[in-house]
């Protein structure tokens, strides 16, 4: 983990309520796809944990949805604005587990961390399939970006206004065989993917966090291999480790 001041080099609306922010500064603490950063915004006491969409030499990109005061503030940031950010948080995905033809499944703002993952997997010559799901056409983003990495891309919208009508799990049967899967999205989606999946895989979870680096125990969950902090031993948890709550 590293703390630093990062400068906004771009902050663009890319879909309904969804923004992409590129921050320049030292990205060296971000070592794995699926890690997150924790960003301090003016007027909010706690930081905002956001998954990393892409890591570059001079910074990184995040994609976030405006859901409250903090993300609303972020959406108004302009080029040159600065943020205090903790980078390189969490464990990230296990790229080595993918097999030859992994499947990536993302829902809404669960899609962004899969982009860096897809980049790393395609760079290793894996045949990557991606299913991305949204509520409606106006919320769809990153279809083209995944396509240009060479991934096979399926888009699902709940209302059928774009791509396949239905949920990501409705599309899973059309993908054909896959060797492993990686999923990120809202918890009901993750649960549905868990039930439908036919191979091993891993899930990235979201939780309300206090610190984001393992100090406060605010985001803990129970797993087969003991208690885990979503921010430290997570956010990625292997399928075989998961104990669903409720």
């Amino acid at each position: 983990m590293k703390q630093g001041i990062y400068t906004v080099s771009e902050n663009l609306k890319i879909a309904d309520g969804v923004y992409r922010m590129t921050l320049s500064g030292d990205p060296s603490a971000i070592t794995a796809a699926g890690q997150f950063v924790n960003l301090l915004t003016d007027g909010c006491y706690l930081r905002r944990p956001i998954s990393v969409c892409e890591v570059g030499k001079d910074g990184f990109t995040i994609i976030y949805k405006v859901v409250g005061k903090g993300t609303e503030k972020m959406s108004r940031a302009k080029k040159g604005d600065e943020f205090d950010v903790l980078t390189g948080l969490g464990n990230g995905y296990d790229v080595a587990a993918s097999g030859k033809s992994p499947l990536l499944i993302g829902g809404g703002v669960g899609v962004p961390p899969l982009y860096e993952l897809a980049k790393r997997l395609t760079a290793q010559g894996k045949r990557v399939s991606v299913i991305i799901g949204f509520n409606k056409k106006s919320e769809v983003f990153y279809e083209k970006e995944f396509l240009s990495l060479g991934c096979k891309v399926f888009v699902a919208t709940a209302d059928g206004s774009y791509g396949e009508k239905g949920f990501v799990t409705d599309v899973m049967k059309k993908v054909g065989t896959y060797t492993y899967f990686y999923a990120c999205g809202p918890e009901p989606m993750l649960k549905a993917v868990y039930k439908k999946s036919e191979t091993d895989g891993e899930f990235s979870f979201e939780r309300r966090m206090g610190c984001g680096f393992g100090a406060c125990m605010g985001c803990s969950c129970k797993t087969v291999t003991g208690n885990k902090r979503i921010c430290k031993e997570g956010p990625v948890i292997k399928k075989g480790d998961i104990i669903w709550e409720d």
Binding site: Y45, R47, R208, M209, G210, G214, A215, M217, S220
Partner: protein, 299 residues
């Protein structure tokens, strides 16, 4: 002795800055970031006899200038703390640590304190009779003078190390409770634990915290904490460790002027992992600015 040093229950601290229990784990997350030996000491994660997961999530909420938590004392249990956490801590922290203990019965407090009292690295035991997030224990001991005194007396009889009783602000009058602990043999008092609060999510129309209520901390509580430290320090002769919303060197000086011997820093560590390092770094300049030569002479 440096100008920042203070004496807490017979143990000299290089400075009065102590990360508060529940915001610093067992130390090593922060040891990855800076040399934690610069701290006066730190109070480790509230430990109970048995391992605990704590309350269901969400157990963190935010508010203006602060946060609520309903973690509910997640910890690996006293035996694992002794066999795993303390040996790991010893590699990165050469000073005495403050052991924070919680319980659900007087017997449990006594047994957990006795286990930690036997550990060489433990300098003080901070007995938490004020956790607002557990049912049938914690705070119920700290909101009643007789119960607080009973825990104090029984823990004192079973231990050798200085016993600091951590009190709750969720009481009508803190003074009789602090005095009862002093009369029962406490070596120090620390306060305040968090203030009981809640938030409701307008979208779901339900409490944000699964536990409904949680403990409020952060700069929002600083004036309340300062007032209670002031009242307590005037009422007892034993040292008072002040905490509640402390986030800067100036806050530390205020707490000490209110009567605190040492100062704990809690929520600030979660927002800025370097908060305690920064406060210690800023203290000499803040003291110069206000004409304070040494912290021992501040009062």
């Amino acid at each position: 002795m440096g100008r920042l040093s203070v004496d807490l229950c017979g143990i000299e601290l290089d400075n009065p800055v102590i990360p508060a229990s529940g915001t610093f784990g067992y130390g090593y997350e922060f040891a990855d970031l800076y040399d934690i030996n610069i701290l006066g000491t730190f109070s480790f994660k509230g430990t109970t006899k048995e391992p605990r997961f704590g309350n269901p999530t969400p157990r963190i909420a935010e508010c203006a200038s602060g946060m609520l938590n309903s973690v509910g004392l997640q910890n690996p249990g006293a035996e694992k703390v002794v066999s795993e956490e303390l040996p790991r801590l010893k590699k990165v922290f050469g000073k005495k640590v403050m052991a924070n203990v919680s319980g659900f019965s007087v017997e449990e407090y006594v047994e957990t304190c006795r286990i930690l009292d036997g550990q060489e690295q433990v300098g003080w035991i901070e007995v938490n009779v004020s956790c607002p997030n557990v049912h049938g224990g914690g705070m119920s001991f700290g909101t009643d003078a007789r119960a607080a005194a009973e825990v104090t007396a029984k823990v004192k009889a079973a231990t050798e190390k200085p016993i600091i009783i951590k009190l709750s602000p969720n009481v009508t009058d803190i003074v009789p409770i602090a005095r009862a602990c002093e009369d029962a043999g406490a070596d120090g008092i620390s306060l305040i634990n968090t203030l009981l609060g809640m938030r409701i999510d307008l979208k779901t129309r339900k409490p944000v915290l699964k536990n409904v209520t949680g403990g409020l901390s952060g700069p929002a509580v600083f004036p309340v904490a300062l007032r209670m430290v002031y009242q307590t320090a005037k009422a007892v002769k034993i040292p008072v460790v002040g905490m509640g919303g402390v986030a800067s060197a100036e806050d530390v000086l205020e707490m000490m002027l209110a009567g605190a011997t040492a100062v704990e820093v809690g929520a600030a560590n979660l927002v800025n992992p370097y908060a305690c390092r920064d406060i210690i770094r800023d203290l000499p300049a803040a003291m110069d600015k206000y004409g304070i030569k040494t912290l021992k002479e501040i009062r």
